[in-house]
């Protein structure tokens, strides 16, 4: 490392801004917040968060020379930069959703924890060695555990956090064990160095296989993929809704991004083969099985749910399965670039959709006191605009054109089938995914049936929707429609970044 600290600061500018904002939020609330009413403190915290995220968002991507300053620890390239921007956007959106939240009196702590977990995610996507991956992951997770428990008046919130924490702790142990095995075999912790070392040893050491399974368990927990998903329904249901939304969106984007980077840059030599009837050991068959299980289990279990947040949790498990397909497709040499763009497109549009959906759920839950399916009854007459937004979100999740969810699925599926084009070896995963998404339409329609078909119970009046949620929902709905009709808006910059990143 050179001694040019200014250049280093320049490289770390987004992270530095987010860390500073976290401290400012905390300080401002401590100094000035004490005598102010809670709504004011919440909106002040939220707006400081939004401004911080916006500043970090508009920092231009560092050049190639600057990116190489901390090689081996922390790296950057246009692709990583885009991932960071997505995470910052999601954090800002979560902060806006939190404005109307009444689950805590500790506005400053809440927003600073939110920002610290964002900081963890920013470091995570930039991490260049296994140690950094682990540290960043833990920073993110610890903040999220606390955020989950933030509603101190709710037993469910505490229970959710405890579950999340216990599962998270165990999975972190698995991850660390996996990493240590990788280090033991290769003698390296830097990502590309691991790849070249594995290349030499042909990548099929049995210790490496054990390490891969453990890493898969660790990340499987983070992205909530079956069979490591058990925490997700309870956490989504119990956590304060904006926190659940953040876990479902920001955390997912960051975890998938680093999982994909790890798979494509460090572990490619041990990919194995996930094609039907041609399985060979490696991370591909492991992830393929997890993905298949996730798609089936997530979609089938969602049918039985009566709580909308639990339903969204199972739907998130199913969606994690679809996304995992993108990671598998990228493991093929020469196909990585074709897989990253759809993966990123899918993950980011999904994150936006699910975040906005949670926003709507939050409003309904505040009004009705619970999030059962029937609390949505007659939403279309109580708030036509919100009902229309919800229609767009849920249909996008189900994959109905012309919404972003449909194009994302289509794009991802073509990438997967195209990864092994000669005998369509990966088609089995796509068949499974499409069959599973046919199931998913059923439960999304169950919610929409409540909204559009059922009449609102007598005695309910027009729903009061906070302006922040309305703005979020309308923005997301327009974005989803626009991205579905003109996906090039995202595809072109993503594809350009992938090219520049050298895949």
């Amino acid at each position: 490392m050179t001694g040019d600290y200014f250049a280093l600061l320049r490289l770390l500018a987004p992270e530095a801004i987010v860390a500073l904002t976290a401290l400012i939020v905390l300080g401002a609330d401590l100094m000035r917040g004490g005598r102010q009413p809670l709504p004011l403190r919440m909106s002040a915290g939220a707006w400081i968060t939004v401004i911080g995220c916006a500043l970090a968002f508009f920092i231009p991507a560092p050049g190639a020379a600057a990116s190489a300053l901390a090689t081996g620890v922390f790296t950057s390239n246009p692709l990583i930069h885009i991932a960071k921007q997505i995470i910052l956007l999601l954090t800002a959106a979560t902060a806006i959703l939190s404005i109307s939240g009444r689950f805590t009196n500790h506005a400053g702590e809440y927003f600073s924890l939110l920002l610290f977990s964002t900081l963890g995610m920013l470091f995570l996507v930039s991490a260049d060695n296994l140690l950094m991956v682990f540290l960043a992951l833990e920073l993110t997770s610890l903040c999220l555990y606390v955020l989950t428990a933030f509603d101190k008046r709710s037993v469910a919130s505490a229970e959710a956090a405890l579950k999340y924490f216990l599962f998270g702790g165990v999975s972190a142990a698995f991850l660390l064990f996996g990493f240590s095995l990788i280090y033991g075999v290769t003698g390296e912790i830097q990502l590309t160095a691991i790849a070249s070392s594995l290349q030499k040893s042909n990548g099929h050491d049995s210790l490496i296989m054990a390490a891969l399974v453990m890493v898969a368990i660790g990340f499987g927990f983070k992205v909530a993929i079956a069979p490591f998903h058990l925490w997700a329904p309870d956490t989504y249901q119990g956590a304060p809704t904006p926190c659940a939304a953040f876990i479902a969106s920001g955390s997912k984007v960051a975890s998938f991004f680093i999982l994909a980077r790890l798979a494509f840059t460090a572990l490619v030599p041990s990919a194995g083969n996930g094609e039907w009837a041609r399985f060979t050991p490696g991370w591909m068959p492991v992830l393929a099985l997890c993905a298949a299980l996730s798609m089936i289990l997530g979609n089938v279990a969602a049918i039985a749910q009566s709580s909308v947040k639990r339903l969204l949790a199972y739907s998130a498990i199913a969606h994690a399965g679809y996304m995992m397909l993108g990671v598998i497709a990228g493991g093929y040499t020469g196909k990585t670039a074709q897989a990253i763009t759809p993966l990123l497109f899918y993950v980011s549009t999904y994150a936006l959709t699910t975040l906005a959906t949670f926003g709507v759920v939050m409003v309904v839950e505040c009004d009705q006191g619970h999030d059962r399916l029937d609390s949505f009854a007659g939403l279309r007459s109580r708030s036509p605009l919100l009902a229309l937004c919800m229609l767009i979100f849920l249909l996008s999740l189900a994959g109905i054109p012309p919404l972003a969810g449909f194009f994302g699925k289509f794009y991802l599926f073509t990438a997967i089938v195209g990864a092994a084009p000669n005998d369509l070896g990966l088609l089995w995963l796509v068949i499974l995914a499409i069959a599973a998404s046919a199931v998913s339409l059923y439960y999304y329609l169950q919610i929409l049936k409540q909204i559009y078909v059922a009449d609102s119970p007598t005695g309910t009046s027009e729903l009061t929707v906070p302006a922040s949620v309305t703005a979020m929902a309308v923005f997301s709905a327009v974005a989803i429609l626009l991205l579905g009709c003109a996906p090039n808006i995202l595809i072109d910059p993503f594809a350009a970044a992938v090219r520049l990143a050298g895949f």
Binding site: T341, T414, L424, L427, I434, A438, V453
Partner: protein, 494 residues
Amino acid sequence: MLAWTIYLSFLGVVVLMCLPRENARSARWVALATALGGLVLAIGGFLAHKPGAQIITVARLPWVPSLGIEYHLATDGISIVLVLLTGLAAVTGILFSWNIEHRAKEFFAFYLALIGGVYGVFLSFDLFLLFVFYEIAIVPKYFLIAIWGSTRREYGAMKLALYSFVGSGMVLIGLIAAFIVAGGKTMNLIELAKFPFPPSFQNWAFPLVFVGFAILAGLWPFHTWAPTGHVAAPTAASMLLAGVVMKLGAYGALRVAMTLFPLGLAFWRHEIALLAVIGIVYGATVALVQRDFKFVIGYSSVSHMGFVLLGMMTLSQIGLSGAVLQMFSHGIIASLLFAVVGRMVYDRAHTRELSELQAMNLSKALPFASVTFVIASVASMGLPGFSGFVAELQVLIGAWQTFPALAILAGCGIIIGVAYTLRVILKAFFAEADTPLVELEHPLAPITTPERIGAILLMGTSLLVGLYPRILLDLIVPSLETPLMQTMWKGGVQ
């Protein structure tokens, strides 16, 4: 210009959404104006279409270049005929839903969204675009039935939505696989049809895609959504379901499955022809024993759509042109039948049980309805002079040349068709005096002007096509020779 049929429909949806709440009158007029605009454009396109084996591009823009997806709208004789059908069904459907008061604005918004999707399917020559429009049509159907429907509406609506979605899922699998096998460069239907897909691939891709589409065309044994869906749907929606949505399936099967996978078609055509004939006979037989008036028409739709699929499987010019003609003809006649049952009879008598209708002596109470129904049903059973006759005759001739045994069975289906039609006419309208007539508490409301206009429009069209089928056939027949269909003839016919 034809592209505006699509844009106009979606524009109508937006305008309707902006209207003030619960203003049924203005919603109706906006919807009617939109649909009429679509019909005028469709008629204009129809008259301007020169017969010939060419595909006329309407709009072509790059959409997602990295996947070779284009926004490509075009027409040939087949699609222009079906666009015309859609325009007619859309306008008459609105005329027959003039009495909708409950959430009228939303009703017409969903209705026009469905119409827009249907126009889009018939005009798309890019596989991806076609699929997008095909799926757009699913959700409005669900809400139209679930909100405004009758008997077991939520069940019928969900069943229809899931059947459609599973069908389109099957299509999507085949479509992605075909796209990748052909090199992943283009989604253009004409380009893809030129690609020689390996026979082993075609042998599984063809049934997948064909059945995926044909589910919506009521192919036996995947037809079960059709009767329940039709019965549950409000009048305008069942008119659209039978009138145009079932044609979407048949059209997709013809336009995509058969042109892309001619070898698969040759491999599977006997089996599918058999299924089609089973559908003809089964639908007719089941219709014979129904007690609910609307179920009779629902099953008769399954039976008549069997002729479309049978005609397509003959792979002869006469059979295929008969199939397309039957799509148009059934679209008109089924719309009319559902209009009589759902709007003219059920909305007034509040029952569809044939045994109860028997006691009402409807031929006296609703003379216009009974005359319309008699005309529609004789057209449906294939009386010369109406469109159904020409279409089914062509299909039968085509089938006789290729599958004589199946043609005989299909002929039996027509005879059963006569039986159930006569039974339902007698029971519903001209009950014998031996059943005691009940005095109705309230006299039935007279048939309104919008209903009369709609019925006359549909009857006139059926008669016109029946007397002068060349008005459509002159466009359909040359279109079977377009570059897109060439491969089907070369590869499919041994």
